[in-house]
């Protein structure tokens, strides 16, 4: 019993929301701005408890968009900034999320998804904001969104979200749902030193020479925080290297393509996929987040019945792994796409594969998650 007791000391029994807050702090997050919304509020509450003790700042803003504005402002002043919300709150943040992409402010936005549209089902889960994450804010823009499914992944993916945000100077989304946000599970958090921390590329020239969007070193312009010697202009209008607005078609085109290239040109860095029982699979599942956990149980049960099923589970849902899904589809006779909504990611799957591919959707709304037996029934239908 003594060994078990020893390891028990390191086991944390945190709700997923607390895991994310702890991971953010471990990643170096020193600023949180938010507005309480179920089922994400525990992230704000936990940040309020731990950030001030680490010398960081917590602020509850007057509303969701204000919180997003505060996060971008803090980021441009050099902070590693986080906000957390749920679908209705993200709807309100979207205008400033677009501003974040435009001014290239590294920050992390967590959406603990609940049923919608509108205020929907505040205390019940859904996975219905995945398209909102990609296309919610207007205009062409790059998107990175991560979808962890387990406690240890909520920890590591939150850290990865900060790292990607910093490295590529852009907002990064983390999508979980009420199932994961409120689920307490045993986990041993990694210790500092067991994970990498990446900071944004910094301007190493004289402050007076600084041009905030000068990109001779690649697609990510080096950064100089506000109040450190240079005055620079920040605008949501298309701008040139100095940060001042421009309508010059050439410059705007150059800027827009550079913003997109930060994601399209860094897929190796951004993509992350988990394959489960996929090697000999004859039927393939593409699923993510908490629903993928139900799929894992269904896969086990199907294999006990002699049906060879495997799963491709993106941890990075945006950019969507179209090529990897295409490869996966070539090895199986049918694909099943369980998602806790009325059909969103299935569109990405459909456009990744040959038009003859058999694709079975498994969808659900109503606040009660898709359970393993529902997925097993789908497997048996196509088997």
């Amino acid at each position: 019993m003594s060994d078990a007791n020893e390891s028990m000391r390191d086991v944390k029994f945190w709700p997923g929301n607390v895991v994310i807050a702890e991971a953010a702090a471990a990643a170096g997050c020193d600023f949180f701005a938010g507005y309480p919304i179920t089922p994400s509020s525990e992230i704000a509450a936990h940040m309020a408890a731990i950030l001030p003790k680490k010398g960081g700042h917590f602020i509850q803003m007057e509303d969701e968009i204000g919180a997003m504005g505060a996060v971008i402002g803090a980021s441009l002043a050099g902070a590693k900034a986080l906000t957390a919300t749920s679908g209705p709150g993200l709807s309100l943040k979207l205008e400033n999320l677009g501003f974040g992409y435009m001014v290239e402010a590294p920050c992390v936005i967590v959406n603990v998804m609940r049923g919608g549209p509108s205020t929907g089902l505040p205390t019940h889960p859904a996975q219905a904001d995945v398209m909102q994450a990609r296309w919610g804010t207007h205009g062409d823009h790059p998107t990175i969104a991560l979808v962890p499914a387990f406690h240890h992944e909520m920890y590591t993916e939150t850290i990865r979200a900060f790292n990607l945000a910093e490295q590529l100077r852009m907002p990064v989304l983390v999508l979980i749902d009420e199932v994961l946000g409120h689920l307490s599970d045993g986990m041993v958090p990694p210790k500092p030193g067991e994970f990498e921390i990446v900071n944004r590329p910094m301007w190493d020239g004289k402050p007076e020479d600084y041009q905030p969007y000068f990109d001779d070193k690649g697609d990510v312009p080096p950064f100089l925080p506000y109040f450190e010697g240079a005055q620079w202009h920040t605008t949501g209008l298309n701008h040139d290297e100095t940060g001042f607005p421009t309508t010059n078609p050439e410059l705007v085109t150059k800027q827009m393509h550079r913003l997109m290239r930060k994601v399209t040109g860094n897929r190796e860095l951004i993509d992350s996929i988990d394959y489960y029982e996929a090697d000999d699979a004859e039927i393939g599942i593409v699923s993510f987040g908490s629903t993928a956990r139900a799929a894992m149980v269904a896969i086990k049960k199907a294999r006990e019945k002699g049906i060879k099923v495997g799963m491709l589970r993106p941890l990075t849902i945006w950019p969507f792994p179209n090529k990897q899904v295409e490869e996966f589809s070539k090895k199986v006779k049918a694909l099943i796409v369980p998602e806790f909504n009325l059909g969103q990611i299935v569109y990405e799957v459909e456009r990744s594969v040959h038009s003859d591919m058999v694709i079975k959707r498994i969808n659900k709304v109503g606040g009660v998650p898709i359970n393993p037996n529902e997925i097993l029934a789908g497997i048996e239908e196509v088997a």
Partner: protein
């Protein structure tokens, strides 16, 4: 090994903490455990529950599918949350608080423990309801050991209340153990 437990009551009876302590006890014993509470809009007085899933391997699907143990301390929560129960599920009700049907008695392995009366009589304060409940649960299911649960309880109990919580646990544990002897 896979075990699903559901504690249900009305908000304020401390049932979510009981679930956490059960999960801690499972961790002490080297098992995996995950818990999901259900929230209602009311802080106190609304029907509430927590599901705890214990497994020898990592918990994959974190919600219940076939419940092995169900505790209810209020008719409201009994009616709302007596779903997904396995045939033969160990069902523990406070007979003074919960109305249940004859069919339920036949379908499930139903035990009646006057948890609230016991708590009032033996401890004098209703805050110990959850520890009494936990004691009865451990005795009836044997899914975690008495020792591990007490260790977990000591760690989670607010400072200064450890002794009373342990006593409350014992009250429930002993009552249920006697029930088991009688039933055998």
């Amino acid at each position: 090994m896979h075990f699903e437990a559901r504690f249900s009551a009305v908000g304020g009876q401390g049932i979510i903490l009981a679930g956490t302590i059960l999960a801690d006890a499972a961790h002490i014993l080297g098992m995996h455990a995950a818990g999901s509470p259900t929230y209602t809009a009311q802080v106190r007085g609304g029907p509430t529950k927590v599901d705890v899933i214990i497994d020898s391997e990592m918990v994959l699907y974190p919600r219940t599918t076939e419940i092995d143990f169900f505790l209810s301390l209020a008719t409201d929560s009994y009616k709302r949350f007596a779903t997904d129960l396995k045939p033969g599920c160990v069902v523990l009700v406070d007979p003074n608080m919960v109305e249940f049907s004859k069919e339920d008695e036949e379908k499930y392995n139903l035990y009646q423990v006057p948890v609230l009366d016991l708590t009032q009589k033996e401890l004098g304060r209703m805050v110990y309801t959850s520890a009494v409940s936990l004691g009865t649960m451990v005795a009836l299911t044997d899914i975690v050991t008495e020792e591990a649960t007490k260790e977990a309880l000591k760690k989670r109990a607010p400072k200064g209340t450890e002794m009373y919580n342990l006593k409350a646990f014992q009250v429930g544990y002993d009552y249920a153990s006697e029930l088991l002897v009688k039933k055998a």
